[in-house]
């Protein structure tokens, strides 16, 4: 398989486009807010004080840097390349999402916004946002599909315990897509005093770029840690992709390197089953939630319902940068099914004593496919993006 290496990767352009994807497809009312955000973010990203405060919180409060763990039993099990796990499951709140929530809340405070809204699917971003809001004493409203509130009840309780208001969304499929619609409607209505903390590399510019940059610390640390341990770069990088934030976080610092990068989508019951969330595998470009990207939609352009056992991947769109990396073939996107993900949960739990989130388990499931093709001289790094406690109810139904 060929790997195209670009030495001049500089996406997105000034209009927020990654090739043909991205942009700002929002009502006029949000344009001033996006422009204000763009300016504030630019200023913050050039301000060493902002950077220091962000890094200090990630260290003292989130617990970064997270470990890069050698998975010896998993490595022995497959008998191929060495497998390292980037342990985002060890972040405070149990997933990578907090990196971005901390970054955005600092920006919100800098901009003088006193009311925070967020959407959530699996509840990990909702929990991360509720956590950041509790830490800074800011009002927090989280929109969550009613179906997801059932699937991820533990996270609903966690958010409420930390003082966030969780608003159930009963429109459409009652999942992440609809929660995002509702959060955008809230933002359009309360645009003056409200900051919308988007939880993935989706939405209108500058969100996909900004969220990526708040998560690139995952890849930056990985690179440094692996250099310390092995003195070289990995051969393979793997991460699961729903909207794509943990994936872009670990991929981005390696974009210009000679590393084979693989993103794993949620195949649901199978990519040909019609019950899937494999957007890049089955989707066609279109516009949803403010940006142009691959989407699951029918002949009439109506958005189709995604399906995945994992609430965090159950989304009919994907971040525009992933669409671009897919088209340019810089990243190889594949899909695994619900059943494969569940098997991976058991395997990792037994072999490594790590119960991964169902989202994360999708990346692990690809090892079945990849590892037989690797040799013991090679190195695989997998982003262990979150822990599985929140999924215990779903998982135990299949045990």
């Amino acid at each position: 398989m060929s790997v195209i290496t670009t030495n001049t990767y500089s996406e997105p352009n000034h209009k927020g486009y990654f090739g043909a994807y991205g942009g700002k497809f929002v009502p006029e009312t949000l344009i001033p807010a996006l422009n204000e955000l763009e300016c504030a973010y630019k200023e913050a990203s050039e301000d060493p004080e902002f950077e220091n405060e962000y890094l200090r919180l990630l260290h003292e409060y989130v617990g970064r840097p997270t470990e890069l763990s050698f998975a010896d039993r998993l490595t022995n099990y497959y008998g191929g390349a060495k497998i390292y796990l980037k342990r985002e499951d060890l972040c405070h709140t149990g997933a990578h999402k907090i990196n971005n929530a901390i970054g955005q809340i600092l920006l919100a405070l800098k901009m003088g916004k006193k009311r925070i809204i967020a959407e959530t699917g699996a509840g990990q971003h909702g929990v991360a946002t509720a956590t950041a809001c509790a830490k800074f004493g800011v009002e927090c409203i989280v929109y969550m599909g009613e179906e997801d509130m059932v699937r991820q009840k533990l996270n609903v309780d966690r958010m409420r315990l930390m003082g966030a208001e969780v608003r159930g969304v009963s429109s459409g499929s009652k999942t992440l897509k609809d929660a995002t619609n509702e959060a955008i409607r809230d933002w359009v209505t309360n645009v003056d005093d409200t900051f919308y903390i988007i939880g993935s590399v989706v939405g209108p510019h500058p969100y996909p770029m900004m969220v990526r940059n708040f998560h690139r610390i995952i890849g930056d640390e990985t690179k440094r840690q692996l250099m310390d341990i092995e003195g070289r770069l990995p051969d393979y990088l793997i991460a699961c992709v729903g909207g794509g934030s943990n994936a872009i976080g670990i991929f981005y610092p390696f974009i210009n390197d000679n590393v084979h990068i693989i993103g794993i989508e949620a195949g649901g019951l199978g990519v040909e089953s019609g019950q899937t969330a494999a957007t890049l595998t089955k989707g066609i470009p279109g516009v949803l939630h403010g940006s142009m990207s691959y989407l699951l939609h029918d002949q009439e352009g109506q958005i189709e319902l995604a399906h995945s056992i994992s609430a965090g991947l159950d989304y009919p769109g994907i971040g525009p940068e992933h669409a671009y990396l897919h088209d340019t073939k810089r990243v190889d996107y594949r899909a695994v099914t619900d059943a494969q993900a569940l098997e991976a949960v058991s395997l990792l739990s037994r072999l490594e004593g790590i119960i991964p989130a169902l989202e994360t388990a999708h990346a692990f499931a690809w090892l079945d496919e990849l590892m037989p093709k690797t040799t013991s001289e090679e190195i695989v790094v997998l982003n262990c993006s979150g822990r599985g406690d929140k999924d215990m109810e779903t998982i135990s139904r299949y045990l």
Partner: protein, 267 residues
């Protein structure tokens, strides 16, 4: 002259009334009849909504009518058919209003040529701001479909002027920052006056229509006092929702329309 411009030429002494309905709601076979009835009862312009599964600029009422219309099986091709059918009996300006994704999926070239052929006069795309609209401008120009842009209370003077420059037909003043939906009259009125003054100062080329939150004749008259006309959508759809499918539902709806324009019922 385009039908939209003609209406503003002819109705200089009254408030132009534009009515929004979702195509295919409450039933695919009623849309043409509703349009013709609206015209008989005082509507000057029709905004025909092309439903989308994820209407993020719309409140609960238009979310509801959109979902119903999609369940009823409405398609873009079907909507062009409705416009063509209306054109057999009416020259009322028809503006299509819908989100960009279904339009892109239909194909931009095909969409604009079919729209023109059916007798569509204009297009409003709420999630396609000026910055992104360059992708449709040439098609619209070629097929003589007028593009209407929205301005909101938080739109800068500079962007208002740009909207005026890019719009044809009229400029759509969104009276409040928020999604579509009927609101308490006072809520709209408070902030709208300064916004309208600023809009009038910046919009010099096009007529100005104000919409969002208008639910009756009094709202309409007071909010549009300083502009060329007003737009009603959600309140009309609410009326349909409450009346349909009672025996005389259509008369009730047409009465509401007449009242909205003239301040008294048609009987």
């Amino acid at each position: 002259m385009n039908r939209i411009n003609k209406v503003f030429e002819q109705k200089k002494d009254e408030k132009v009334m534009s009515l929004f309905i979702t195509a295919g709601y409450p039933d695919i076979n009623e849309t043409v009849d509703l349009i013709l009835g609206f015209e008989r009862n005082g509507a000057d312009i029709i905004e025909l909504g092309m439903p989308f599964s994820d209407p993020l600029a719309d409140g609960p009422t238009i979310q509801y009518s959109s979902n119903m219309a999609i369940s009823n099986g409405v398609t873009i091709q079907g909507i062009f058919g409705m416009v063509a059918e209306t054109r057999k009996n009416s020259e009322i300006p028809i503006i299509l209003m819908g989100y960009i994704n279904p339009i892109l999926r239909f194909g931009l070239g095909e969409f604009f040529s079919s729209a023109a052929k059916a007798g569509v006069d204009g297009l409003i795309v709420p999630d396609l701001p000026l910055d992104e609209a360059t992708m449709i401008e040439e098609f619209a120009h070629t097929h003589e479909i007028q593009l209407i842009y929205l301005i909101a209370p938080n739109t800068s003077d500079e962007r208002m002027q740009l909207s005026d420059d890019k719009s044809n037909g009229f400029v759509y003043c969104v009276s409040v920052t928020g999604v579509t939906g009927a609101r308490d009259g006072s809520e709209v009125q408070q902030s709208v006056d300064t916004f309208i003054q600023r809009s009038k100062a910046n919009i010099t080329k096009n007529p100005l229509m104000v919409g969002f939150g208008i639910k009756n004749y009094n709202d309409a008259q007071s909010i549009s006092k300083e502009v060329d006309g007003f737009i009603v959508g959600s309140a009309l759809i609410e009326t349909i929702k409450n009346a349909y499918p009672n025996e005389h539902w259509k008369e009730e709806v047409f009465n509401f329309v007449h009242q909205l324009k003239f301040g008294y019922p048609n009987q």
